[in-house]
């Protein structure tokens, strides 16, 4: 059965980037306002699910050539590495450090090591959720 999906595919090509940018925004907003790595990862997964709905598994695998189990591993390494790095400075596990830096474009910003941990959580959520959805949807 051949169906016409022009509207869905054209909308997806635009909306994918809107959802992805919003997920990045909500990831960076997560330190002081609602948001964070988990919600950002789930939104990115939603964007990839929209691609999978409008196209098929083969096309998406060609467009995003990642092995998402390895993405999960990188995320776990990042999160646990940030948490374990505090041991070397004689402070308790999971202690995070922050300081104010003057960046050329953003002005004075406070950078936290908790952000690296949050990036790890983001990668773990994206990898695990996309792997689940590809595994469930793959056996047609």
């Amino acid at each position: 059965m051949k169906t016409n999906d022009v509207i869905l595919q054209t909308t997806t090509k635009l909306v994918f980037f809107i959802i992805f940018l919003f997920s990045i925004h909500i990831f960076f907003a997560g330190h002081y306002t609602p948001g964070g790595g988990f919600v950002g990862g789930l939104l990115t997964t939603g964007a990839i699910v929209l691609l999978l709905l409008a196209f098929d598994l083969k096309t998406v695998q060609k467009a995003l050539p990642f092995n998402f189990t390895i993405v999960t591993g990188i995320g776990l390494l990042l999160a646990l590495g940030t948490a374990a790095g505090s041991i070397f400075f004689n402070v308790p596990f999971f202690t995070h450090a922050f300081d104010d830096f003057t960046l050329p474009l953003f002005g004075t910003t406070s950078l936290h090591t908790a952000m690296i941990f949050d990036a790890g959580v983001y990668l773990v959520v994206v990898g695990a959720a996309v792997t689940m959805i590809q595994t469930i949807g793959g056996d047609a």
């Binding site: 059965m1 169906t3 869905l8 909306v15 959802i19 919003f22 909500i26 907003a29 306002t33 609602p34 948001g35 919600v39 939104l43 939603g46 699910v49 929209l50 999978l52 709905l53 196209f55 098929d56 598994l57 083969k58 096309t59 959805i133 469930i136 949807g137 793959g138 047609a140």
Partner: protein, 93 residues
């Protein structure tokens, strides 16, 4: 003004109850799908009214998030109704 917004909020919640009845007892699957989509819209309007009541802007991201998730859910449900298969392996065949 506050009374007006409370009345609107109560009306929106009543319409969510009516839509839940339609989801429970929709004669066909498309009825339930349209009702679920409308529940998403009603949730968005309820959160917008709450954000006016609490005088805060923190709920705007929640509104955008519910809108995106509701859109993806509606698209996947309608694809399931039309094709019976949500994620295809190869579309060319």
């Amino acid at each position: 003004m506050t009374t007006f917004i409370w009345v609107c909020l109560i009306l929106v919640i009543l319409s969510i109850v009516g839509l839940l009845y339609r989801v429970y007892r929709g004669p066909s699957v498309p009825d339930r799908l349209v009702a679920l989509d409308a529940i998403g819209v009603m949730l968005i309007s309820a959160i917008a009214l709450l954000s006016i009541l609490f005088d805060t802007g923190f709920f705007m991201e929640v509104i955008l998030l519910i809108a995106i998730m509701s859109f993806i859910g509606t698209v996947s449900f309608s694809k399931f109704i039309e094709k019976g298969e949500i994620i295809e392996r190869d579309r060319t065949s």
